[in-house]
């Protein structure tokens, strides 16, 4: 066997993965060739340099970080759902998906409304048709004859325009006006949002309530509460007062963005055994509270407008009672909503001292 051939085989020879005849040939060659023998020794030495490299420790709190991330992506996945998740995976897939959706929508729209140049006329005529066929807001009142002024009041302010043609006075000929119902709805939503004191969007909020429970063993647990209190304080949090320190349980509240850092710091105070690291997704609850508050704010506005009009005393009293109930409910919902938002911004860490 020649030196060049042997050099090619030194690496698998080192790992003892050569077939027997080849292996024996290399062994024989190395026994008589000093140059190849030296190359083999150098190769073995340099490979061992890598094998002998020390283990590298991850930064403190690494496992807590992993555990908190496990809680969060799971919730996100559940929140977005299958097909939407797939849109996020690949730019090509996303582009193709949107292109396919556009083609499908274009096709359906063409089937329904004809070719694109006919869409404007078609939609305009539909809008006119909708306005002309829409029942008047007070038609139900007229039908049942009850004439409940407290409910019809706000609607009586503008009864006539419901049956007006699409070309309202003053509007350019041929252009449909925005349906009054839509305008009212938009105005109502804007008013509700402002009145209900709800953020215009909660998309930027982190809708996770983070909490962790861990058992901490230390040689001297007496100074641990002070250390934990200081750590919490340094990170904008606090040790919950009146906790059951005698029973060995401390509760710490910290800003959600300092959760991992504080948790890591507590773990470093002794031998920690993490029992739970979780992030509860409260997006659904937040949406529910926002919806409830908006509905109640809307009802409150309607009742207040109705009470501002002349009405029989008995009906005013009924409206006032209802208004009181709505306002009480709204205050309660706002408190719960506010608490939930606070919870998403504040993480809880419970420490059982041993």
């Amino acid at each position: 066997m020649q030196c060049l051939e042997v050099e090619e085989l030194l690496s698998p020879y080192l790992d003892e993965v050569l077939a027997l005849p080849e292996s024996e040939d290399v062994t024989s060659h190395l026994a008589v060739c000093a140059s190849c023998r030296e190359k083999y020794d150098v190769l073995k030495e340099t490979v061992n340099f890598i094998k002998d490299l020390p283990e590298v420790e991850p930064p403190p709190g690494f496992s807590a970080l992993v555990m908190s991330k496990i809680a969060i992506p799971t919730r996100e996945k559940a929140g977005y759902g299958g097909v939407f998740m797939s849109f996020r995976k690949s730019g090509w897939l996303r582009a193709c998906s949107f292109a396919a959706m556009f083609v499908v929508i274009l096709g359906i729209t063409t089937l329904m409304y004809g070719m694109p140049n006919q869409w404007y006329q078609r939609i305009s005529s539909l809008l006119v048709h909708e306005q002309q066929n829409e029942p008047a807001p007070d038609s139900e009142t007229k039908n049942d004859g009850s004439a409940d002024t407290s409910e019809t009041g706000p609607k009586e302010d503008s009864p006539a325009h419901k049956n007006e043609p699409s070309n309202a006075p003053g509007s350019p000929a041929g252009l449909p006006v925005v349906p009054q119902k839509m305008a009212e709805k938009e105005e109502a939503i804007i008013t509700q949002v402002a009145y209900g004191n709800i953020p215009a969007s909660n998309k930027k909020l982190n809708n996770l309530v983070l909490d962790a429970t861990l058992a901490l063993s230390t040689e001297d647990p007496s100074d641990v509460p002070e250390k934990i209190a200081n750590l919490a304080d340094d990170n904008g949090g606090y040790l919950v007062p009146g906790g059951s320190q005698e029973e060995g349980t401390l509760t710490v509240k910290v800003p959600a963005d300092r959760f991992n850092y504080v948790l890591s710091g507590i773990r470093e105070m002794g031998d920690a055994d993490t029992r739970r690291v979780a992030g509860e997704d409260v997006s659904g609850k937040i949406s529910s509270y926002e919806s409830n508050i908006r509905d109640l704010a809307n009802e409150e506005r309607i009742l207040q407008q109705a009470m501002g009009k002349a009405a029989p005393l008995a009906e005013s009293e009924v409206a006032q009672a209802r208004l009181n109930k709505v306002q009480t409910d709204m205050e309660q919902q706002k408190k719960l909503y506010s608490k939930l938002l606070t919870d998403t911004q504040t993480a809880t860490i419970k420490v059982n001292l041993r």
Partner: protein, 191 residues
């Protein structure tokens, strides 16, 4: 006494987060070391190691114990590193945190028999840093196969299986990687 891997795995499969965290604790050094040796800096190594454990968490229900847990976890780690290569090739990624960080924090525990002098600690730290620099300067395929073999201890068959290539390719690629490493090492030693 620490519970066996099998017990922690079964408990983790049943949703016991504490058991899973114990697994993370048990293997975080191994996984992190591979990630660090592959990527060469702590910031990216932490990301890769986290990604490995997240994948482990989601894949755990499919673990049937046909190989050892350690081997299985190392396969996931190698796959994460391999995917990182693909991702960086795809986006021509250039790390802003590319400098090699010397690591000699564990020299004390490695040297058996006596405590090394401060000078020896510094020398060893510098030497380990140079070895890491040599690894970093290899192309990614060579770096990955070298780490899979020398750090993770995979067999040729296992490497072929993970990288989805033939045994012959593993042999030749590993041989070239070792040769390239040896040349980088010699170049640096002569400086």
């Amino acid at each position: 006494m620490q519970p066996a891997d099998e017990i922690l795995i079964e408990r983790s499969k049943n949703g016991d987060m504490d058991a899973f965290e114990q697994l993370v604790h048990r293997y975080e050094n191994k996984v992190y070391t591979v990630a660090y040796r592959f990527i060469g800096n702590h910031a990216d190594a932490s990301d890769l190691a986290q990604d490995t454990f997240l994948r482990l968490y989601h894949a755990l229900p499919s673990f049937r114990g046909e190989s050892s847990f350690m081997t299985w976890l190392y396969r996931i780690t190698a796959n994460v590193c391999r995917d990182e290569i693909r991702r960086r090739q795809k986006y021509h990624f250039v790390s802003l945190d590319n400098e090699t960080e010397n690591n000699g924090d564990h020299i004390m525990s490695r040297v058996s028999g006596r405590t090394p002098s401060p000078e020896e600690v510094v020398e060893q730290k510098e030497f380990n840093g140079m070895i890491q620099e040599c690894i970093d300067s290899l192309n990614k395929e060579h770096r990955l196969i070298l780490i899979m073999r020398e750090v993770q201890g995979f067999s040729y068959e296992e490497i072929a299986d993970i990288l989805k290539c033939s045994l012959g390719t593993v042999k030749s690629r590993l041989s070239r990687a070792r040769q390239a490493f040896k040349e980088k090492f010699n170049d640096r030693r002569e400086l």
